[in-house]
Symmetry: C6
Subunit: 76 residues, 6 copies
């Protein structure tokens, strides 16, 4: 991918960190299937299926571990 989409893992708040974890999770999908049209067609397949939603939340949880550690858990 030619575009720059990730320059830092540091975020101001844990919520922004969680949202970055979602971005990482989606990018993992996008690198595997770069065709936006195919992804669009697949979207209802997982966003309307309990099992797929849980699996998506698992990926986000894994990426959130990384982002949270990078930010030293936003401890003050």
């Amino acid at each position: 991918m030619a575009d720059t989409w990730l320059t830092s893992l540091i975020t101001a708040t844990p919520q922004e960190g969680f949202e970055l974890a979602i971005t990482l999770s989606r990018r993992g999908v996008k690198y595997t299937q770069p065709d936006a049209q195919v992804l669009h067609k697949l979207r209802p397949e997982y966003s309307n299926d309990a099992h797929e939603l849980t699996a998506a939340s698992q990926v986000i949880a894994t990426n959130f571990q990384t982002v949270a550690a990078a930010n030293n858990y936003w401890r003050k």
Copy 2:
């Protein structure tokens, strides 16, 4: 999502930390499928299925790792 729902990973007790891990797990689902009606319709699909309940518990366990580390495991 416009609302602020996560301002800190620090909790007073491990049990509150576990409950925060549940919130994180549900938010991971909600960011993927924001339509509350669809989520409501899917609820019986996973809350009445042994496999889905175990998968949900796996996501919670992953998020609990993050919250527990953030709280230095509530060691005294």
Copy 3:
């Protein structure tokens, strides 16, 4: 949940820590499906199925990582 069930991650021995990891894994299920009757009905579904037993052991392993780290691996 109104009851207090988790006040510390510290245990005297690794075995008690493993048993706490099992408690955490079951609580993850129970928070998702609080109805004890439904859970009771689902029990044979996963306790008699090789795939579900492995998945349950995976959740326990993940929670045991947390409990073991909290206890500094019970090193002496």
Copy 4:
């Protein structure tokens, strides 16, 4: 479970640590389904199925992370 089966995570070698990880993985199954006869009956179900063998190896890998950290990776 009344018996004592886990008194330490420390092992002399990484191989013994890996074997302890296998013990932990099996105990996770056994706590969920304590009936030895049922477990015996289920054994061919997963030991003759590629998917189940990979899932078993995943649980072992997760437990090995814990045991390896406990042993400070057997660094000299």
Copy 5:
């Protein structure tokens, strides 16, 4: 495998680190199935299936944890 493909986990930016995580994930597949023709034939099977894409993103997330830790999260 005779070729040298991994000499360091250090990358200049988090994005390069994420791309290295993708490389590691693909290599994990390739070591298991080294036949490029078989892999080519299987490609549509997972790149057009929501469940497989999420599973691929899960592997990438796991490898990204390793790469990010190696780079001390690219903190400045």
Copy 6:
């Protein structure tokens, strides 16, 4: 298993570490199903299936986390 196959987690390079992670993943399978003939028969089942290849790569990624940490990420 009587043979000695794992005396250290330390490797000279990250690539050797990745290959050790593959060995650990295969050993996890082999301890669960020690019969080489059964394993041989199952091999096409997972090496020709996209889902199984991704699952294998997930186990490798988990073991690589352990090996990489043991080697302090091969930082110089």
